[in-house]
């Protein structure tokens, strides 16, 4: 049960949030190749270590947020707002 520091509401329990998958997946334009489009649709990095992902504070402020989580320890390394760049982090 993670504890997530919502940038708008403060530290809250995971049960207030909804997981939304990997962040920083960019959406190709319609003239993208089938291969590129399939990559966007179906492929994710699935790392062992730092994973940047988005969460919705659904039972709170209703805002989406990004966070970087270590997939091994579940440690949350940082929380940042939508639109902010991907942080440069190494696995602890």
């Amino acid at each position: 049960m993670l504890q997530i520091a919502c940038p708008w509401c403060g530290v809250r329990d995971e049960e207030e949030f909804r997981f939304g998958g990997e962040s920083h997946v960019s959406r190709p334009p319609t003239d993208a190749t089938d291969v590129l489009w399939a990559d966007y649709l179906f492929n994710r990095t699935n790392p062992r270590g730092v994973h940047c992902e988005r969460w919705l504070h659904s039972y709170g402020c209703g805002r989406w947020l990004n966070l970087a989580r270590d997939t091994v320890t579940h440690e949350i390394l940082c929380v940042y707002r939508m639109g902010e760049p991907k942080p440069q982090l190494e696995r602890s």
Binding site: M1, Q3, R63, W64, M82
Partner: protein, 992 residues
């Protein structure tokens, strides 16, 4: 007055001899005292056989005094309410308690199931997997399922209450033995907010069970002082008879609280979710059994448990006690039994000699000590009568010398103490095998947790008190409390460790069975068989033999299994490793986990604003998502079909009212609202004029249809999006995700308003006439209010949004008013339509009408493979120039393939046939039937007087007019492929 039970000591123990408790066990009336557990009271009464093993129905006695108990499992009944599989060792004795042994027939003393035991060679591990295959498993399943399983469902559960609680704290201390108390006291004095939890009903842990001194006084004095201080402190919360069952991410722990489980009038159990900034695990250690022939006989117990019963409950369990050990600790059992006046027949020590201090005390007490010796077998039928003892060879791997027989009626055995690392391991932390103590120990910790006392391999009391206090201070310091370096732990003379030689398995093997798992009846022979069949991984061996898989989860099993596996396969125990420790640590009542979320609170129903009217007018309700909605309104003796057909005909010929309140409603407002919706819908949103309504499909990025509905432009920057009723919440959230995450630059707000507005659809040729009977600033004439348009204004004295859209194919107005005005409006409309023959229309009639019209029902007519091209929206997709969600996917060759399943209509060739949803459309290929699609919606059309269907058929668009075979319930019947619109194909009725 009954005399005191025969095995009870005259003095001593933490029991109140002035408070006699009467209870019943397996039909016998017995007495115990306040302070007893069920197990101690049974032992005091001389009850030796407390249960039967699961597989062989062997007689079993109490093994332990704690959570690890595999044998003494009872159905416990208090005031007519029972709980299954209660560990007698933890169950406080209360008056009027009735205990019944599980898994025996006809009685625990004489069990017919023991026939399995006498023929045990027929039933090795995995026997049922190998044996019951011919002719098929199902031929045996019923019999085996009756023989398997343990316990019965509780009775009187309706009176049981379950609550969930949440608790946050600075420091959570799990375990209130010496280590936990010391930690809690230190953290408390440092000002931290402390929660202290123990599974016992009293604080103290091992201090209650041992004769120990602290600062020259009995340890219980220190315990009393400590308890008093903790209970006085306002920053300490104590939960007793509560078991911490799980340790999860970010220091969340769960606890099962049975402190009020024995209430007369219905038990109360609580389920705690605790979030701790710091955790101190002081969960202690569990003593392990020795493995020798017949080691499961009643009267063979863990050494620590024996002195626990002597010291805490004043129960002397045997008249002649043999202690078998591989460590110094079990000598305390011999000394305590001797001190209490019992007879110690012998101490059998696997080591050449114990430590000097222990040896000296044994000599002083004149106890017979056999070094380098082990018990090879126990003798006895339904209870132990004696043991056979042999010397160990110098390397400890063989037996030498003659067999010596010693008579006894109690064997206290100790294979050493195994740290209770369950919680530590659950949070994903690593363990290491300690060769010296012969057990797995906590290693690396990544979370904010400290491990102290027995669970950390610390056994001398002096060491435990010091490390406990240090951990409490450190936890307090880490949570920001001012820590003064005051000596908190009592200063005790340092003591030696308990000098274990980790040898628990009897060398040399034996012809008789040696038990590893008492509850599941797993013996050393079963593990040997597993290894012979190459189940050498600890996870495979566990599943093959079921060792450690009973409800005690192998607390006295797993370490011995791993040790034996290591021996048999020539590996180290470290290489064998442990199986995974998963929550819960002890079984948890399902009721405790579900808490209050049962019955009507499990999934609260959503009621329509006009629910009361529907109820009072005979509506039959069905569940649609969370909503209770009228399926139909039968009159007189009508069946549901008859009612629905009457409602269809009423709406088609006169006027009907349909409660569409659950219809999804989302306000989209802002300068970029049109642009946003244009990126969402397959259909063009930018070109929609104010006051107009357009039908639209929503796709996911893979091009699959996920929802449909109309969207209305109320003003240039204000849209109202309708979703399906089922999609209301999902689509609102999904739109918000696109806005916040992908296009945050678009200026708009999204507000779901589904439950703010009630919707009454007024449908049928007389719909306009009904509406015109009300005062309104809206002109309902066909010229001023055309099909697919929206008006806002006042209607019947209420502000309303009225859309002229049609899901049923008739002239139709959807009147939206604030939800609290819905019932009044509904009644007014019914009254106004009375002279026109108005009928309330339920969902069933509604679905018949839309099927007649061929209107899509997303999720019924579509599935996870259906794209808009399959539904005939190709021209709209191709016409739109702009990107929208899912567009790129529709450009893939597969999405445009001719062979795809396409949405068409069906009519049976024979008028008597009825199409059914789910029926497959088949062709014969190489003798086998091949499905080319299926019927998705079907009904008998009361309007057209025939059966009709909609469905998805390969190349369906090109096959209109063809005959296909419909396969349903084993029969194949011909049907014609037609267009989807059966009723009013030109649409003049809804445009009228």
């Amino acid at each position: 007055m009954t005399a005191g039970p025969e095995f009870r000591l005259a003095t001593g123990g933490c029991i109140d001899r002035s408070r006699l408790l009467r209870f019943t066990c397996n039909g016998r009336s017995l007495i115990g005292y306040e302070g007893d557990t069920l197990a101690s009271a049974l032992l005091a009464n001389g009850v030796r056989i407390v249960g039967r093993s699961l597989k062989f129905h062997r007689p079993r006695g109490v093994l332990s005094a704690g959570v690890e108990e595999p044998n003494a499992l009872f159905r416990v009944e208090i005031d007519g309410a029972s709980r299954p599989l209660v560990r007698a060792t933890l169950q406080p004795l209360v008056g009027q308690l009735t205990a019944t042994s599980e898994n025996c027939f006809p009685s625990v003393e004489f069990d017919l199931g023991r026939i399995i035991d006498f023929t045990h060679r027929l039933w090795p591990a995995g026997f049922y997997n190998k044996t019951f295959k011919w002719p098929r498993w199902s031929a045996y399943e019923g019999l085996i399922r009756r023989a398997a399983g343990l316990g019965r469902l509780p009775q009187g559960g309706e009176r049981a209450r379950y609550y969930h609680h949440n608790l946050h704290c600075d420091v959570l201390v799990c375990g209130a033995g010496a280590a936990g108390l010391s930690a809690a006291l230190a953290a408390c004095r440092a000002g931290a907010n402390v929660v202290l939890i123990d599974q016992d009903r009293r604080l103290g842990g091992g201090l209650l069970a041992e004769r120990l001194t602290i600062e020259g006084a009995p340890a219980t004095k220190w315990l009393e002082r400590t308890e008093a201080e903790l209970r006085r402190a306002r920053n300490v919360y104590i939960l007793l008879r509560t078991t911490v069952t799980g340790y999860y991410d970010h220091n969340v722990l769960t606890a099962h609280d049975e402190s009020h489980a024995d209430l007369v009038g219905g038990s109360v159990e609580r389920w705690w979710k605790l979030r701790a900034r710091e955790v101190v695990l002081a969960t202690g250690a569990i003593e392990q059994p020795l493995v020798f022939a017949n080691n499961d006989l009643p009267g063979i117990m863990l050494a620590g448990a024996v002195r626990h019963y002597v010291n805490r409950y004043a129960v002397m369990l045997g008249r002649a006690v043999v202690v078998a050990t591989n460590n110094d600790d079990a000598y305390r059992t011999a000394f305590d039994v001797h001190e209490a006046g019992g007879h110690v027949a012998a101490i059998i020590d696997a080591r050449p000699q114990p430590s000097d201090a222990v040896a000296a005390e044994a000599r002083a007490r004149d106890l017979a000590l056999f070094g380098s010796s082990v018990v090879t077998r126990a003798r006895g039928g339904s209870a132990v009568r004696g043991v056979s003892v042999r010397m160990l060879s110098a390397d400890g791997k063989g037996l030498v010398g003659p067999e010596r027989r010693i008579d006894c009626d109690l064997l206290a055995m100790s294979g050493g103490w195994n740290p209770a690392i369950h919680l530590f391991s659950q949070a994903g932390r690593s363990l290491r095998y300690d060769e010296q103590i012969g057990a797995f120990m906590p290693a690396r910790c990544q979370q904010r947790v400290q491990v102290v006392g027995g669970v950390n391999g610390e056994f001398p009391l002096a060491k435990i008190l010091v490390s406990g206090a240090a951990s409490g201070l450190e936890a307090a310091r880490r949570t920001g409390n001012a820590v003064h370096s005051v000596p908190i732990a009592p200063a005790l003379a340092p003591a030696a460790d308990y000098g274990i030689r980790p040898l628990r398995l009897t060398p040399g093997g034996a012809n008789e069975r040696q038990w590893l798992d008492f509850l599941h009846d797993v013996t050393t022979a079963d593990v040997e068989l597993a290894v012979r069949e190459n189940y050498v991984s600890v996870e495979h061996a566990k599943r093959y033999t079921t060792a450690g898989m009973a409800i005690d989860q192998g607390k006295t099993t797993n370490l011995n299994v791993m040790t034996l596996l290591a021996e048999l396969t020539g590996r180290t125990v470290s290489d064998v490793g442990t199986t995974t420790f998963r929550p819960p640590f002890t079984p948890v009542t399902i009721g405790a986990i579900s808490g209050g979320a049962t019955g009507q609170f499990f999934a609260p129903a959503r009621l329509l604003p006009a629910h009361a009217w529907h109820v009072s007018h005979g509506a039959r309700f069905d569940d649609y998502g969370a909503w209770k909605r009228p399926a139909c309104y039968p009159r007189g003796g009508e069946t549901r079909d008859q009612a629905a057909h009457r409602e269809v005909l009423a709406a088609r010929s006169g006027v009907g009212l349909f409660d569409g309140s659950p219809l999804g409603k989302i306000e989209v407002k802002g300068p970029d609202a049109a642009e946003f919706l244009n990126r969402i819908y397959v259909n063009n949103a930018v070109t929609l004029q104010s006051g107009r309504v357009r039908y639209g499909l929503m796709l996911n990025e893979n091009g699959i249809v996920i929802d449909d509905g109309v969207f209305a432009r109320l003003s240039p920057e204000h849209f109202l999006v309708n979703t399906t009723s089922a999609g209301a919440d999902r689509i609102a959230s999904w739109l918000d995700e696109w806005h916040q995450c992908e296009w945050p630059d678009l200026r708009l707000v999204l507000v779901p308003v589904t439950t703010q507005w009630a919707v009454v659809a007024v449908v049928g040729p007389h719909a306009r006439e009904v509406l015109e009977r009300f005062p309104s600033d809206i002109d309902f004439s066909a010229e001023r209010f055309p099909h697919m348009s929206v008006r806002t204004g006042h209607f019947a004295g209420v502000s309303a949004r009225i859309k002229r859209v049609s899901f049923c194919g008739e002239l139709s107005f959807e009147v939206s008013v604030p939800a609290d005005r819905a019932e009044a409006l509904w009644i007014q409309l019914m009254n106004a339509g009375e002279s026109l023959g108005v009928a309330a229309v339920g969902i069933e009639a509604w679905m018949v009408m839309r099927t007649e019209k061929g209107f899509l029902h997303v999720g019924t007519d579509t599935d996870g493979t259906t794209n808009p091209l399959d539904l005939g929206f190709g021209p709209i997709v191709d016409k739109k120039q702009d990107d929208f969600v899912g567009r790129r996917s529709l450009m893939r060759a597969y999405d445009r393939a001719d062979s795809r399943r396409q949405f068409v209509g069906f009519e049976p060739m024979n008028a008597a046939d009825r199409l059914a949803a789910g029926a497959h459309l088949v062709t014969v290929k190489d003798v086998k039937l091949r499905s080319e699609g299926f019927i998705t919606s079907a009904c008998f059309s009361p309007t057209l007087g025939k059966s009709i269907g909609l469905g998805l058929l390969e190349r369906g668009f090109a096959r209109r007019g063809e005959t296909v075979s419909v396969f349903d319930e084993g029969c194949t019947r011909p049907a014609r492929v037609v267009g989807t619109t059966f009723y009013d194909p030109t649409g003049e009725r809804m445009h009228g």
